[in-house]
């Protein structure tokens, strides 16, 4: 039983990291109708930014975390202006392929700067300590920190999207892009905003994953894959869906590795994907037939 509880804790922390990563993708798809594969590399690059600021410059983790968010937010805006805006009227496959190209380019860039042999540690608060529950259950402070950060990030995100006028313009654009234009909403401003927030969420996920397990050039791939499945699972474009699906997937992944077999962990996300596509293709929080 305690082993189960322990896996729930690990799964929750992993799932929340994934949810942050997926929320960025969900937002981009929801408002801008683009699946940005380069998001995975923003996660990775965000990890490196946090590494440079905390380990390199010796500043506090939260400074590095904020720097990762801002830097990747700006990177997101640059991507929108330099790639996606140009491809906006092109078929979705063109955008997808372009984002894959950007994924590769950012990967090569990071390799050039930081190399591929070393893991880069990020000093995170609570790295050493843990709370022990009974004999066997331990909750690492670092995981408590990431869970707390995730909750805070989602609280801010919720506030921005549902309690500010900027959020209203984003939601309006998502639900009726042309009508939103008729309301005087500037498409480009919303696009920049959405790409900024999505990039920042990627940076946040990277800083947290890097804080738990070092920063490395290939760290963007698994979260990207999981995030893609999460947004399909949660309902394309749904933030709450991303959070719940992220948690479910993270926990399921951990339980499978632990109870079924370490080699089978990777099966979980794809099995979930298949089942979702067959049973509820619109995802948990997607409305049937709303989005083609």
């Amino acid at each position: 039983m305690s082993a189960f509880a322990q896996q729930l804790i690990y799964g929750t922390s992993y799932g929340m990291n994934l949810a942050v990563a997926a929320a960025g993708l969900a937002l981009l798809f929801g408002v801008y109708r683009v699946i940005n594969l380069a998001h995975g590399q923003l996660i990775m690059f965000g990890g490196y930014i946090a590494y440079v600021v905390t380990t390199g410059l010796g500043l506090h983790f939260f400074v590095g975390f904020a720097a990762a968010m801002v830097a990747m937010g700006v990177a997101g805006v640059i991507l929108e202006i330099s790639v996606f805006r140009i491809l906006q009227r092109r078929p979705a496959t063109d955008q997808l392929l372009a984002s894959l190209g950007v994924y590769m380019m950012i990967g090569i860039l990071a390799l050039r700067i930081w190399g591929d042999f070393e893991a880069r540690p990020i000093n995170m608060p609570g790295e050493e300590g843990a709370i022990l529950l009974g004999e066997d259950i331990r909750i690492d402070f670092a995981r408590i920190v990431t869970i707390a950060i995730t909750i805070a990030v989602f609280a801010v995100l919720y506030f921005v999207v549902y309690r500010t006028h900027l959020g209203r313009t984003m939601r309006a654009t998502a639900q009726g892009p042309e009508t939103a234009t008729l309301m005087g909403i500037r498409k480009r401003e919303v696009a920049a905003l959405v790409f900024f927030i999505a990039g920042a969420l990627g940076g946040a996920a990277g800083a947290m994953l890097g804080g738990l397990f070092n920063v490395r050039p290939d760290m963007g791939f698994q979260p990207l894959l999981m995030a893609l499945i999460i947004i399909i699972f949660g309902g394309m474009g749904s933030l709450i869906g991303a959070i719940i699906a992220g948690l479910v997937l993270g926990i399921l992944y951990n339980l499978t590795v632990f109870y079924v077999g370490s080699k089978l962990g990777d099966l979980v996300p794809f099995a979930v994907l298949l089942i979702i596509l067959m049973v509820r293709p619109q995802g948990l929080f997607g409305l049937p037939g709303r989005r083609a």
């Binding site: 082993a3 322990q6 896996q7 690990y10 799964g11 922390s13 992993y14 990291n17 990967g107 090569i108 390799l111 050039r112 190399g115 591929d116 042999f117 070393e118 893991a119 540690p121 790295e127 050493e128 843990a130 331990r138 690492d140 994953l209 738990l212 397990f213 070092n214 490395r216 050039p217 290939d218 760290m219 791939f221 698994q222 979260p223 992944y253 951990n254 590795v257 632990f258 370490s262 080699k263 962990g265 990777d266």
Partner: protein, 456 residues
């Protein structure tokens, strides 16, 4: 793009002597030697140095400054391979496979069919090794690898050469070490209490063939050396490539409550992350809760330094591994290494290849050894003669004196597998050190070493 990509496609270094003859030289006047390496992408760190070392070996051979000596002696006069009275230049050409099997096989095919290579170095990945074998073996093309660490290079193959150990052989060595008698350990200043009362072993690595071979060697070894330790193959923990959160995998390992953990990974970021998480989950090698065993990458000084930077102390006396390279060598070997390292570092130190490490030295050894072999055969076209002559040579190389191929005790056949010596290494005061214990002849047993076919 990485410079190395361009480099690979341009066709890499052509030896100096070739300039005179140029492309007009006829096939039998040039010895064509090709390679397939991962020169770009995340796995390029496994390919860049190997390609660089082989290229350097060709250049040094053409210059007449081989550094490595053959036993019995072979001339290294410069200008090419000395075949009869002629000097035959060596042409080296390498392709980048970007760590993709398909590109590997394309490159192998191109080297054989278009470039007319008589011997091919690489590819490295296990799956590519097997596919390449199916192209190369039927055409009697010699294949060589100095970092493959795979039984697939030699077992059941006539033309394959593995100039390093394999994941199986090295596990035979480390399992032997932990099964040593207290007396032997004491002799070498190792406290036998480290292993006292330990029984259960656990195994963690990335889900790939190297690790699967490693776990087989580990299980074979534990049995071979007296069965003091238990191991369950069903319990081995294999994590997928690209894993970011190691917690569930380490938890699965911790649940087995092992006394000894074999961490079979050569991916530095993975290793550091696993070690960090092991400490958190009570698999503590700093206090001796467990003994942590790792491989030759774990026992690299730079890894110990990196670990220290991350707050991981490997100097507790409970962390052990091996190296194929004796860190405390005889003066003649040291002199060779010193000379080589100077040349290598001057050439590559400031490039993306980087400074010399034990791995490029092994590749350099192997390349010079092979060229001596061709020379000793007195032919550049008869591969059967080349293989026979090469395998009967030994070398005094950069890894140490008297390197030789493994001779099967049952048939007396000389195989293409290097008879690697494994030196047991520990860490003390943040420095790796050689324990004085090393193994060689004992390690060569089992179907993965000299079977006629790779077991399924």
């Amino acid at each position: 793009m990485r410079g190395s990509v361009k480099k690979a496609f341009v066709g890499a270094a052509v030896a100096a002597g070739l300039a005179v003859g140029g492309s007009a030289a006829q096939a039998e006047d040039v010895f064509k030697f090709g390679g397939v390496f991962t020169l770009s992408g995340p796995a390029s760190f496994l390919g860049l140095f190997e390609e660089a070392a082989v290229r350097l070996a060709v250049e040094q051979f053409m210059k007449g400054d081989c550094i490595v000596e053959a036993i019995p002696a072979q001339p290294c006069e410069g200008g090419g391979l000395k075949i009869g009275d002629k000097k035959i230049p060596i042409e080296w050409k390498a392709y980048d496979d970007v760590s993709e099997d398909k590109k590997s096989i394309d490159a192998v095919t191109r080297l054989v069919e278009q470039d007319g290579a008589r011997a091919i170095w690489g590819p490295r990945m296990n799956s590519a090794v097997l596919s390449a074998a199916s192209i190369l073996d039927p055409q009697s093309i010699i294949s060589i690898c100095a970092i493959c660490s795979s039984p697939a290079m030699t077992v059941g193959r006539k033309w394959g050469h593995d100039i390093t150990d394999t994941g199986v052989i090295e596990k035979h060595a480390i399992s032997k070490f932990i099964s040593e008698s207290p007396e032997r350990l004491k002799e070498h200043g190792i406290d036998p209490k480290i292993f006292e009362g330990r029984k259960k072993t656990g195994f963690i690595g990335r889900n790939e063939l190297y690790t699967v071979h490693g776990s087989i060697g580990w299980e074979e070894g534990l049995k071979q050396w007296g069965g003091k330790y238990s191991y369950s193959d069903a319990d081995k923990v294999l994590f997928p490539q690209g894993t970011t959160d190691f917690a569930p995998f380490v938890a699965k390992l911790a649940e087995q409550k092992p006394d000894i953990v074999m961490m079979d990974s050569y991916i530095v970021p993975d290793m550091l992350a696993i070690m960090k998480e092991m400490k958190k989950q009570g698999l503590d090698f700093e206090t001796g809760k467990i003994v942590l065993l790792g491989n030759d990458v774990l026992m690299l000084q730079f890894l110990v330094d990196l670990a220290k930077k991350e707050g991981i102390n490997m100097s507790s006396g409970y962390v052990w591994g091996w190296q194929e390279h004796n860190p405390a060598q005889d003066p003649a070997t040291l002199a060779r290494v010193e000379k080589y390292v100077k040349i290598y570092n001057e050439k590559y130190g400031s490039t993306e290849v980087g400074n010399s490490s034990p791995f490029d030295r092994g590749a350099y050894d192997a390349a010079i050894w092979f060229l001596y072999g061709v020379q000793a055969a007195g032919t550049i076209t008869d591969n059967a003669a080349i293989v026979k002559a090469w395998r009967s040579l030994k070398i005094n190389g950069l890894r140490g004196p008297e390197n030789q191929f493994f001779v099967r005790p049952d048939t007396g056949e000389v195989t293409g597998q290097l008879m690697a010596t494994e030196y047991i290494i520990g860490v003390k005061d943040d420095k790796v050190f050689y324990t004085g214990i090393n193994y060689r002849d004992d390690l060569f047993f089992g179907p993965y070493v000299y079977g006629d076919k790779l077991p399924k």
